[in-house]
């Protein structure tokens, strides 16, 4: 029977290992989310091409929420850099700020939904049209993923309070940062897609 040291020695030098498995798995998860939204947006295009498509104005709140989510990406990056530099105070502040901005983003999206409803664009029901329903699906699912991101951030905040995130232990922080930036990018894509489709109409 081998001793642990020997086995570890054997495993430490594999020529082939490339990336941290958890980080890698995170990227693969992001790929699945990309495919999910690729599915939805292509469904949108296919469906729109068939006609019978409701024309309506996009809520103005989206500009505000877009701004918020872009700023939150910046604070997220700040958090990451703070962790890297072992600046724990800044780390806690910036993580909290990012979560707060995430929350504000959700509030903004909610406001956008209310705006839609008041201009009679519904998710479902007798007066709904897929043109409107799709918008609710895009924003709703994005929001679900963002809530997941806020949970992730809260876990990070918890670790930060216990001083368990620092330059020597960055993997989870890196994953959180990647995911948050991805959510921001995803929103920019979705909003860009919607703007494009509303202007071209």
């Amino acid at each position: 029977m081998k001793k642990v040291e020997e086995i570890v020695l054997d495993e430490e030098a594999p020529e082939v290992a490339s990336m941290h498995p958890q980080k890698f798995a995170m990227w693969l998860f992001i790929v699945t989310v990309i495919m999910l939204f690729a599915g939805f947006t292509s469904a949108y295009i296919v469906r729109k091409a068939e006609g019978n498509w409701l024309d309506y104005e996009l809520p103005m709140s989206f500009w505000v929420t877009t701004l918020i989510i872009v700023i939150s990406s910046a604070t997220m990056q700040w958090a990451y850099i703070s962790a890297k530099k072992d600046n724990l105070l800044n780390l806690k502040i910036s993580i909290s700020l990012t979560s707060l901005l995430g929350f504000l983003f959700l509030v903004g999206q909610w406001a956008a939904w209310s705006e839609l409803v008041s201009s009679q664009v519904y998710f479902a029901g007798n007066f709904s049209n897929p043109a409107g329903s799709f918008l609710y699906v895009f924003t709703g699912l994005h929001a679900m993923h963002l809530i997941g991101g806020i949970v992730f951030l809260s876990i990070m905040l918890f670790f930060a309070l216990k001083e368990q995130i620092h330059s020597q232990n960055l993997v989870k922080m890196e994953m959180c940062t990647t995911y948050w930036h991805f959510l921001g990018g995803l929103w920019l894509y979705l909003y860009g897609f919607l703007l494009y489709n509303h202007w071209v109409l």
Partner: protein, 630 residues
């Protein structure tokens, strides 16, 4: 369960090089057999669940075959199982016929040939063949099984609903599936189908993420991509295809759920039920078909590729020859993987699509025949003049090659959009996909079980029962599915309860009877396998460490590998997996196979010129390693 597995937990080893601290754990019955994080146990869980599902799905097909082959038969004897689904007259309830067809398809495609096949062999073989102690994340792996299990439970219970399970076909097209009032099966049964499939997708994604991460990050030293056994290539590509296509099915299902339960109209427009106009406006049922088949077509390759990978491995081993065209095999799998994403509309030629678009999809579809043919040729050339050893696994693998070819040919017929207009939704399609997907993947599944059974359970299956099982199955499936081509060409639509009420279709009553009889025999033959499998787990002959004299790493583990797979160091890999019958190997002291862990420097006589170079390089490196350590 008293499966005999000894474990070596005495050394604290975990699957990956990066772990944050050691934790000792004792194994209890629960952590070992139920909530196990060990890839081998999870593989066996998938295997057993998959086989149980296979028998359930098979039994369903026998019931509806009875209806098709013997429409006047009195089925009262089934009442103890089916209860009210057998009518007063002793006939099968037509609604339940549709439910059976739907459940049969769903179970076979997703639960048996996706979860059962990939789940079993990707889990079992990836760590063992790439030289890893376990999967990248044992926990995610465990979750993957338990999501599958819950999905299974929900699907299973939906069978017993009073309104019956989902009945709109395994593709669950709306509007039929979207409107609970459209048919009994579109009620709660359909809801449960959707919930079950959503969980199933989560399970597949968790599994797939794990397989890809493990293959990329956890190969042992020397296991470069060009030395990976073809099994691993197949599982790896399958997982990638799944990762890209399952989310799209999820999207399709989600929109369907919204239509069903929240009143949206993604797929619904201008529908009348019982003379009542529904309020839904502006939806498109074709949209669902696009989304579904964007998964659906890749899905057929998700089902097939693992079987092809297993076959490559078994054929090379038992022909005692290197696999012919290793690179071509890999490249054709990659090509199939890519092409599988751009052919989906060949399932939709009759949806009124623009004929020009149809031609483009026809063209892309027919291109798939090229890499498929490359694979078929490579199998045959590997067999050509080999020292073939006909183990049951080998027979099933050769059987796979046979059905893959016969089913591929009819695919080319269907791929022509002009021909498909006549053949779509007839028994010709049923024949096509049962031969090329159903039978081929099932044969790959069986081949894998016979071949790796010794590694899974430490015992051998009985080969004679295996031969009997093979021949009955092989002849059986051809007798079942071959005649269906004629029935299909004659225009018999699929998913019809009965043909006897149409004069035009009466002519084939005999043939239908023949098919049903053959199906019953084939299904009965599977009990030979069931007996052999269960008996051998407990009472089979003890397996040697390398029963098939194979090159791959799993055969370097103990008879019953414990947690961590290798007791000592993980072997280092020095060559590809197919050095069978290498010329001059005897001068190096080897028989007709040189396992992957044998350094090139140990085989100076049999090395090819470029390997001789590598051997020198290897030796220098070893030297410098030794120096560095002193």
């Amino acid at each position: 369960m008293a499966i005999e597995t000894h474990t070596n937990v005495s050394h604290d080893v975990h699957g990956h090089a990066h772990h944050d601290g050691h934790h000792h754990h004792k194994e209890t019955f629960i952590t070992k057999y139920i909530f196990s994080e060990d890839h081998k146990m999870i593989a066996k869980q998938f295997l057993i669940s998959g086989l149980i599902w296979a028998f359930i799905g098979g039994a369903m097909s026998i019931i509806f075959r009875l209806q098709l082959g013997f429409p006047d038969m009195n089925l009262s004897f089934l009442r103890p199982i089916l209860g009210g689904w057998i009518l007063e007259t002793g006939k099968l309830d037509p609604e339940f016929y549709l439910a059976l067809v739907t459940m049969h398809g769903t179970i076979m495609v997703f639960f048996v040939l996706t979860a059962g096949l990939s789940g079993t062999f990707s889990n079992f073989l990836i760590p063992l063949q790439i030289g890893a102690r376990d999967m990248a994340s044992g926990f995610m792996n465990m979750l993957s099984y338990w999501f599958f299990f819950v999905a299974s439970l929900i699907m299973f219970f939906s069978i017993f609903l009073e309104t019956g399970p989902a009945s709109g076909g395994w593709v669950v097209y709306p509007p039929l599936s979207a409107l609970p009032q459209a048919m009994p099966g579109s009620g709660l049964g359909m809801t449960m189908w959707l919930v079950s499939m959503a969980l199933f997708i989560v399970s597949s994604l968790l599994g797939g993420i794990n397989y890809i991460t493990t293959v990329i990050n956890m190969r042992t030293r020397g296991m470069s991509f060009s030395r990976l056994p073809l099994t691993i290539w197949a599982f790896f590509l399958t997982a990638i295809i799944g990762l890209l296509s399952f989310p799209v099915l999820f999207a399709a299902a989600l929109l369907l759920i919204f239509d069903r339960s929240f009143g949206t109209s993604f797929y619904l427009s201008e529908i009348y039920i019982d003379g009542q106009a529904l309020p839904n406006m502006g939806g498109s049922p074709i949209l669902y078909q696009h989304l579904f088949w964007f998964l659906g077509h890749p899905e057929v390759y998700i089902v097939l590729l693992p079987a092809l990978g297993i076959t490559s491995e078994i054929i090379a081993t038992n022909a005692r020859k290197p696999i012919f065209g290793y690179r071509a095999m890999v490249m054709s799998m990659v090509a199939i993987g890519i092409l599988s994403f751009i052919v989906w509309a060949h399932h939709m030629f009759v949806t009124g699509m623009n004929p020009f678009l149809g031609s483009i999809f026809m063209f892309l579809t027919l291109i798939i025949a090229v890499p498929s043919a490359v694979k078929a040729f490579n199998y045959i050339t590997t067999l050509w003049r080999g020292n073939i050893i006909f183990t049951p696994a080998m027979l099933f693998s050769i059987g796979l090659v046979s059905v893959f070819i016969s089913g591929g040919v009819t695919g080319i017929v269907l791929g022509n959009n002009a021909l498909d207009i006549q053949l779509h939704d007839t028994y010709f399609v049923v024949a096509h996909f049962h031969i090329v997907m159903g039978s081929a993947s099932f044969f790959g599944f069986m081949a894998g079980v016979y071949h790796w059974f010794p590694k899974m359970f430490g015992r051998m299956m009985d080969p004679n029962l295996g031969y009997l099982h093979f021949w009955l199955t092989f002849i059986g499936i051809y007798m079942v599915f071959f005649p269906m081509h004629y029935i299909g060409i004659a225009g018999f639509p699929r998913r019809y309860y009965s043909f006897t009420s149409f004069d035009a279709f009466k002519i084939f009553s005999d043939l239908n009877m023949f098919i049903s009889a053959a199906a019953i025999i084939t299904f009965a033959a599977q009990s030979i396998f069931a007996f052999n499998f269960i008996y051998s787990i407990f009472k089979g002959k003890k397996a040697p460490e390398n029963p098939w004299l194979s090159n791959t790493l799993e055969w370097t583990t103990p008879r019953l590998p414990g947690h961590g797979n290798w007791e000592g160091d993980i072997p280092t890999v020095h060559r590809w997996a197919y050095d069978y019958s290498k010329p001059n190997a005897d001068k190096d002291g080897f028989d007709d196979f040189i396992p992957q862990y044998v350094p090139l420097s140990k085989t100076p006589h049999s090395n090819l010129p470029h390997e001789q170079e590598l051997a020198k390089f290897e030796q220098e490196e070893e030297q410098s390693n030794v120096n560095a350590q002193h």
